[in-house]
Amino acid sequence: MENTILEMQFALDTFYFLMMGALVMWMAAGFSMLEAGMVRSKNTAEILTKNIGLFAIACTTYMVYGYDVMYGGGILLDGISGAGDKYSNASDFFFQVVFVATAMSIVSGAVAERMKLFSFFAFAVVFTGIIYPMEGAWTWAGEAVFGLYTLSDLGFSDFAGSGIVHMAGAAAALAGVIVLGARKGKYNKDGSSNAIPGANMPLATLGTFILWMGWFGFNGGSVLAMASKESANAVAMVFLNTNAAAAGGVIAALILVKLLWGKADLTMALNGALAGLVAITAGPDTPTALEATLIGAVGGLLVVFSISTLDKVFKIDDPVGAISVHGVVGLWGLLAVPLTNSGVSFSGQLAGAGTIFVWVFGTSMVLWLVLKAIMGVRISEEEEYTGSDIVECGLEAYPEFTK
């Protein structure tokens, strides 16, 4: 009977893992819809292709060797054939693999409307197979960074990945945007910035709600266990705080933009929600609900200033605000952890953030430059005018609607 109970725990934890993983997989749809809504209609089909393609690539490369790089156990999932100890190894892989895809999805939005599709896919193969798994190994898998220092020893903690997933994705995106340059027509000769409105706000909103929902899996699953009172409580608290932080992000962003610009800019409310979610991701287990709301709210404020500053001051052209949402706020998420978690140190968080950023930004930059040399990364100016849908996919996203 003892055994039956153990089996039940095993089953419950596995089931929990799978449900959380399914929710994270669902985030792929969220990123697709968000990005498809924030670009112009002529680049919509291409970004959809990019998103479904990168998800497929991430699942495959991580299966072939990424998981091995990160957690060991052999390529092609050799090592997970055994059943596992506390839960099914297969469920662990399933949960982990959707994280890789999330990191990669962050990149696609930032480089939208001007990047060559297959260069992006080439980047995805390396990013999901090596760049991400390496830093994943140093953080969640606890390995020493090139044998030099161990982040967890320095007091670093990133519960569900504000840094490891989100800031990492943003770092790769930043390198890509620098190599690519801004979209044609984005900046005037005098340096002023033009708005390029996204074509479909309901899609962008849907995407945000999907991400919000999926995030329960992202953070909730990162407790990694459910079948005891303690872990069940932890998961519940993580759900509650994840939701609270997103709500805080929306409210803060909405009030701020209303004060700044007099209008309740929907896109900023959406980015505020995501910022709240990214902010809480590094430590959704320790804050109270009020603290979580505030951590999210700070994220919501930050994201508005960051998007505006990156755009107008640094001329970083990021159509969906991915670098601000996942990068700037991801860093804030890491730094907020010590505020409510005494086991975590500021210095450790800085060390971790620095390690992740330097590694991902550096390797991504090299990779983008190599791709630029080999196959080119940017479509031609005329193609950009025509739109990448026709150029890359040979079809239009909305062929019947007049533009």
Binding site: A195, P197, M268, V304, S308, G321
Partner: protein
């Protein structure tokens, strides 16, 4: 025959159509257009960046009529399309000469085809 082409504000369309019906105009062709004129566009903020909307939505009406209806048609359009007191951007009416009309259904030509 004359072709009267009027550029009006979109939300005046129903009023103008009614005014024209009342004076016996039997046919109108309407097109959605964008106008640029004295009425200036506006500047919007999207994610903190500005963009200017130079062209404003207007409706173009084309009405083929016999020459002696011109005055009453111009009058009907003008009074129906004018915002209270007249506002910049209320629009314009252009009159050109129309040499011939053919009704496809019957092959009729000239003013009976209108």
């Amino acid at each position: 025959m004359k072709m009267v082409t009027a550029i009006i504000k979109p939300f005046k369309l129903d009023d103008v159509r009614e005014a024209l019906s009342e004076i016996g105009v039997s046919g109108i062709t309407a097109t959605e257009v964008k106008g640029f004129g004295r009425q200036k566009g506006h500047t919007e903020l999207y994610r903190g960046a500005e963009y200017s909307v130079d062209f404003l939505p207007k409706v173009k009406l084309e009405i083929a009529i016999v020459a002696d209806q011109v005055d009453s048609v111009v009058e009907a359009i003008s009074s129906a399309a004018k915002s209270d007191g007249g506002k910049i951007g209320d629009g314009k009416i252009f009159i050109t000469s129309l040499e011939q009309v053919v009704r496809i259904r019957t092959g009729e030509t000239g003013s009976v085809a209108l």
